[in-house]
C-alpha cells in the first residue's frame, strides 16, 4: 500500500485504493519526519486528521470536509480547494490550502497556522482559541464569530458581521469590511500590530498586504459578562 521512493523518503497513499480510515491509519504509522503524498482525494473528507507526528503531507487535489482537523504536529498542504472546517481544532503545525476554503475554516483552532491562498467562505476562524488563520483573499459572513484568542488576517474583504461577540482574538483586514458584528470595533493600529502583520505576511508568502494599512478589529468588551439586571423587564 505504501510506496517508498528511493530519492527522498516519500510515501504515497492513494485515495482511489484506500478508505479514509486506511489512509489515516497509514499516516499515523509513519515515522517522525516522513514526507507523504495523498493522491486522488476527489473531495474526500477527514483526510490527515488527529496526527501528532512531524510529517510533511501534500494532498494532491481538491479535498472535502475536516481536512487536517485536530492535528498537533504535521505540516499539511492541499494542492486544491477544501470543503467545510479545514484545520478544525488545529493544535500546532501549518496547514496550507492553495485554493479556496469553504465554511468554518480553522474553527476552534488552538494553535498552529492555517493559510488559505484563495478565499474562505463564511464563519472563517469561528470560535478561534489561539490559532492563527490567514486568508489571502476574502472571508464570508460571521467570520471570527466568538473568537476567543488568536489572530485572523484577511488580505481581501470581510463579509457581514465580522467578529461578532469577539473575545480576545484580533482581526486584521487588508480590504473592506461589509459590517462589524455585535461588540466588534475598529481600533487604532499600533507598531506591534504592524510588526505582527508583517511577520505573518512573510510566513504566509503574502506580498499583497500593506501591513501599515490594514484595519484592526477587536472586542469592545461590552458583552463579556452576562448582566442579569441589565434591561430587566421581568
Amino acid at each position: 500500500m505504501i510506496v517508498v521512493g528511493t530519492a527522498a523518503v516519500v510515501a504515497e497513499l492513494d485515495c482511489a485504493q484506500l478508505s479514509i480510515s486506511e489512509v489515516n491509519r497509514a499516516l499515523r504509522a509513519l515515522p517522525e519526519g516522513s514526507a507523504v503524498r495523498i493522491l486522488n482525494p476527489r473531495g474526500t473528507h477527514n483526510l490527515a486528521v488527529g496526527l501528532v507526528q512531524r510529517l510533511d503531507i501534500t494532498i494532491e487535489g481538491n479535498a472535502g470536509y475536516y481536512i487536517a482537523g485536530l492535528c498537533d504536529g504535521p505540516d499539511v498542504t492541499v494542492q486544491g480547494f477544501v470543503g467545510w472546517s479545514v484545520a478544525e481544532n488545529l493544535m500546532s503545525g501549518t496547514v496550507r490550502v492553495r485554493g479556496n476554503a469553504s465554511e468554518s475554516a480553522g474553527a476552534s483552532s488552538h494553535g498552529g497556522l492555517l493559510v488559505i491562498e484563495g478565499d474562505a467562505s463564511s464563519r472563517a476562524g469561528i470560535s478561534l482559541k489561539g490559532g492563527t488563520v490567514c486568508v489571502a483573499g476574502d472571508v464570508g459572513h460571521m467570520s471570527a464569530f466568538m473568537a476567543q484568542a488568536g489572530i485572523v488576517l484577511v488580505g481581501g474583504d470581510a463579509g457581514e458581521a465580522l467578529g461578532d461577540s469577539l473575545y480576545e482574538a484580533v482581526i486584521y483586514v487588508g480590504g473592506s469590511i461589509r459590517s462589524l458584528g455585535a461588540d466588534a470595533r475598529v481600533e487604532e493600529l499600533t507598531d506591534t500590530d504592524v510588526a505582527v502583520v508583517e511577520d505573518l505576511c512573510v510566513r504566509c508568502g503574502f506580498d499583497h498586504i500593506e501591513a501599515g494599512n490594514v484595519q484592526k478589529v477587536a472586542s469592545a468588551r461590552q458583552l463579556y459578562n452576562f448582566n442579569a439586571l441589565k434591561d430587566q423587564k421581568y
Binding site: 473531495g43 473528507h45 470536509y65 470543503g83 472546517s85 465554511e103 467562505s121 463564511s122 464570508g140
Partner: protein, 319 residues
C-alpha cells in the same frame, strides 16, 4: 458544524443536525443526454451518507409527442394493473392514455390536462398518487437505500437533458415515499431541499386559505407549493425563489427545476452546503464536491459555492 462527521455514524438527526444530499445536472450540450442516468447515479451514491433513509429522482426528457403530458404515478400495491387503469381512464376521458410501467410506478402519457386528469384519476383510482407531471418531467421516489432505488427504477439507463436527485435524512416529518423528495407540485416543476423550514405550518395555512391542497405534512412541500403559487401568478423561477427567501424561515439549500430552467438558492446564513460546477457542456450541483468529482471535465470546470440568498438560474437554450 459537526453534521457531516456525525452523519457518517447515522446519528446526525438525533443530535438535531438535519442533513440531506441534493444533486442536479443541467446539460448545455445535447450529446450528453444519453448519459444522464450514467452520470447522475454516482453523484447520488456519493451523497448516500447524507441521507440513507429514502431517495428520489426527477428526470427531464422529451420522449412524448407534442401536446402530451406525462403523469408520474405510484400505485398503492405491487403488481398494479396499469394497462387496465389506462384503459379505464381512456374510456372515461374519451382520449388516448398510454401506460409506461416501471416497478411499482408508471408514467401515463395523454393529452388530457392536469385538472381533468386529476379528477378522472380521483374517480377511477383514488389510491394512486401523482408524484409529478409535465411535458418532459418524470418523478421517481421511494424509501430505502438511494442506490437500490436508482436501480429499481432504471435510473442508470435514463436519458434526458436535465436530472435531479435527493438523498433524505428525515427530520421534520415521517419516512414514507410521499414525504420523500422531489416534490412535483406544478407542471414540470420539481423541488429538492436540504435543510428544514421552521415556519412551514404558518405558510401552509396561508396557502390552504388561498385554495392550495397538500399531499403531506412535509415542510419541503410547503416551499414547493409556494414556488408553484408564485409561478402560477406569473413569476419566473428567479422571482419565485426570491419569494421563498423572503417568506420561508429556517435552513435551506434548494434546487428547483422546470422544463426550461435549473435554479439554486441558499438561506441567509448559508447553513446548508452547495457546490456548483459549470463547464461549456453542463451545470452540475451537489451538496458536497465529492458528488461532482467524477464528472467529465470537472478539472476545467468553474467551481463555486453560491452566496447566501443569491438565486442562480440557468435556462435551457440560453447563450
Amino acid at each position: 458544524m459537526y453534521s457531516e462527521e456525525t452523519a457518517q455514524s447515522q446519528v446526525g438527526w438525533q443530535q438535531g443536525v438535519p442533513v440531506c444530499g441534493i444533486v442536479g445536472l443541467h446539460f448545455k450540450n445535447a450529446r450528453l443526454d444519453p448519459l444522464l442516468g450514467t452520470l447522475l447515479v454516482p453523484m447520488v451514491d456519493a451523497l448516500t451518507v447524507r441521507g440513507p433513509d429514502s431517495a428520489g429522482y426527477g428526470i427531464y426528457s422529451q420522449d412524448v409527442d407534442e401536446g402530451c403530458f406525462k403523469y408520474s404515478l405510484r400505485a398503492p400495491l405491487d403488481g398494479f394493473a396499469w394497462a387496465e387503469l389506462a384503459q379505464r381512464l381512456a374510456t372515461a376521458l374519451d382520449r388516448g392514455v398510454e401506460a409506461r410501467p416501471k416497478a411499482n410506478d408508471a408514467v401515463l402519457v395523454t393529452t388530457v390536462d392536469e385538472v381533468d386528469f386529476r379528477a378522472a384519476l380521483g374517480r377511477e383510482a383514488p389510491d394512486v398518487r401523482i408524484f409529478g407531471w409535465g411535458r418532459t418531467l418524470e418523478v421517481y421516489k421511494d424509501v430505502g437505500h438511494p442506490l437500490e432505488i436508482c436501480n429499481h427504477y432504471g435510473i442508470p439507463r435514463a436519458a434526458g437533458y436535465q436530472g435531479i436527485g435527493h438523498t433524505r435524512m428525515a427530520t421534520e416529518s415521517a419516512i414514507t415515499t410521499e414525504h420523500s423528495h422531489p416534490f412535483g407540485v406544478g407542471e414540470d416543476l420539481a423541488v429538492v431541499h436540504n435543510g428544514s423550514f421552521s415556519n412551514h405550518a404558518t405558510v401552509r395555512r396561508d396557502l390552504i386559505e388561498r385554495g392550495h391542497r397538500f399531499d403531506t405534512d412535509n415542510d419541503t412541500e410547503v416551499g414547493a407549493r409556494l414556488i408553484a403559487d408564485a409561478m402560477a401568478r406569473g413569476a419566473d423561477l428567479e422571482v419565485a425563489l426570491k419569494t421563498v427567501v423572503s417568506t420561508m424561515d429556517g435552513f435551506f439549500t434548494l434546487l428547483v427545476t422546470t422544463r426550461t430552467q435549473f435554479a439554486v438558492v441558499r438561506d441567509a446564513f448559508a447553513c446548508k452546503p452547495l457546490v456548483v460546477a459549470e463547464t461549456s457542456d453542463y451545470v452540475a450541483v451537489g451538496s458536497e464536491y465529492c458528488a461532482l468529482a467524477g464528472l467529465p471535465g470537472i478539472e476545467q470546470a468553474d467551481v463555486f459555492e453560491p452566496m447566501p440568498e443569491e438565486v442562480h438560474t440557468w435556462t435551457r437554450g440560453a447563450a
